[in-house]
């Protein structure tokens, strides 16, 4: 296992006071908290920061950690000596369930005899329900629309009979209902972290993240689409094909439409009761005057239309 430099993780010196430890933790917790942060590796960083704080805020644990000496480098292969003992007797107990949130390095120091976590240390606990686990699943908008099954690979922390932290690889096939929306959760009962002492497992929550789509913008169950139309389609009206999640439909553009006008296709959003709608936002694209003929046509329009698009601006 790798040695962890808890001082480096919190960005403080070895002589830092408890107040400095707290300040460093709070600053980093705000930065990397998975519920707040948008840093890509926030979850892993927060776990590290939390573990470092767990050790350095507690004088007993900090002393035990400091006892390892200063010759270690972060990431260096670490193996506690067989007679490793800090001389602490039954300090603060940590249950195997608590230990499962921390690294192997942490468990090797604080999960053993000294801190009284293993069954041989006399740690007694009632049966306890395992903790809930939340995992994000990234779905395309089409997958959210159609639903289907998704295979998940999970590494769940567990503790063995000796109270050591291990991890178990699991593969789950999960049914995704049609019409899930951004941020929604799917609850899988008893698929979370295992309970301790025969307690039931916690639940697994899958949190839906909808990936950006090349042209749809989902908002809840509704979807928005920018629809490019030609100037004559806007002016004269037209029937044009429009993509929807269920396949293309024909949309009637009313005469005299302008860019930014919004048309609703009822029930063409994500399925549900009621289903969402698709909103089509018109966008007028102007062809380039790439030939003399097109240029002539534009000049003619200029003459006959006598149109000032800036009239509203008073110029």
């Amino acid at each position: 296992m790798e040695y962890k430099d808890y001082y480096k993780i919190l960005g403080i010196g070895r002589e830092a006071s408890l107040d400095e430890v707290k300040r460093a933790y709070r600053r980093l917790a705000r930065k990397y908290h998975p519920d707040v942060s948008k840093e890509p590796n926030a979850e892993a960083r927060f776990k590290e920061v939390n573990e470092a704080y767990e050790v350095l805020k507690d004088p007993q644990k900090r002393a035990a950690y400091d006892h390892l000496g200063t010759q270690w480098q972060a990431g260096q292969e670490f193996r506690p000596p067989p007679d490793f003992d800090f001389g602490f007797s039954r300090g603060e107990s940590m249950s195997p369930d608590d230990l499962s949130h921390f690294s192997d390095f942490f468990a090797s120091i604080f999960g053993g005899r000294g801190f009284g976590a293993g069954p041989q240390s006399g740690f007694q606990s009632r049966s306890r329900r395992g903790q809930n686990q939340t995992v994000k699943i990234h779905l395309s908008l089409e997958e959210a629309y159609h639903g289907g099954t998704r295979t998940l690979h999970l590494d769940s922390p567990e503790t063995d009979l000796q109270g050591r932290a291990t991890s178990r690889h699991r593969t789950l096939r999960v049914q995704i209902p049609a019409g899930v929306t951004q941020g929604q959760q799917i609850r899988l009962a008893a698929q979370g972290l295992p309970g301790s002492r025969g307690g039931p497992a916690g639940d697994l929550f899958l949190e839906v993240q909808i990936q950006p789509h090349p042209f749809y913008r989902p908002e809840g169950k509704d979807v928005y689409l920018n629809l490019p139309i030609a100037p004559w389609e806007a002016a004269l009206g037209a029937q044009v094909p429009v993509p929807t999640l269920a396949g293309p439909v024909t949309l009637r553009i009313p005469p005299g439409s302008q860019a930014g006008n919004k048309l609703r296709l009822k029930g063409r959003g994500l399925p549900g009761e009621p289903p969402g709608d698709e909103y089509v936002v018109l966008e007028v694209l102007v062809p380039e005057a790439s030939t003399q003929e097109i240029e002539r046509a534009f000049r003619q329009l200029e003459t006959v239309a006598a149109f000032n698009p800036r009239a509203r601006l008073g110029v």
């Binding site: 809930n132 899930v180 929306t181 009962a189």
Partner: protein, 117 residues
């Protein structure tokens, strides 16, 4: 080594999925007094006037989980947590909106192809 594949069916915690106080407590591993405080703070908005009649919608499960994590990890009190949650929701909405608008402003992303020169 092949690991066995478990087939799971979940429950979608959407607006139509309603939970009572007891279910919320069990599901989120929180106590009734904390849920009551969250309701008083406006963090949770159940239907029903007294706790025994309260019904929470599915998305509120996520709110409770988030509030509990913020309180614990950032050492916040409940009013501060409620404020953070409101601001985070607004921030998320704004980020999503910015991302979508940037996406739509980029002609390549709209699949219009490069301009003819």
């Amino acid at each position: 080594m092949n690991t066995p594949i478990e087939l799971c069916y979940g429950i979608l915690l959407d607006e139509r999925h309603l939970l009572g106080l007891r279910e919320i407590e069990d599901l989120c591993d929180v106590t009734q007094p904390l849920i009551e405080e969250m309701v008083q703070e406006g963090l949770l908005m159940p239907s029903g006037s007294v706790p025994a009649d309260w019904l929470f919608t599915g998305p509120q499960v996520r709110r409770v989980g988030r509030a509990v994590r913020l309180m614990r990890d950032l050492e916040l009190n409940l009013p501060a947590t409620a404020l953070v949650m409101d601001l985070l929701e607004e921030l998320e909405w704004l980020r999503a909106r910015t991302r979508d608008l940037e996406f739509q402003l980029d002609p390549r992303a709209r699949n219009l192809g490069p301009p003819d020169i």
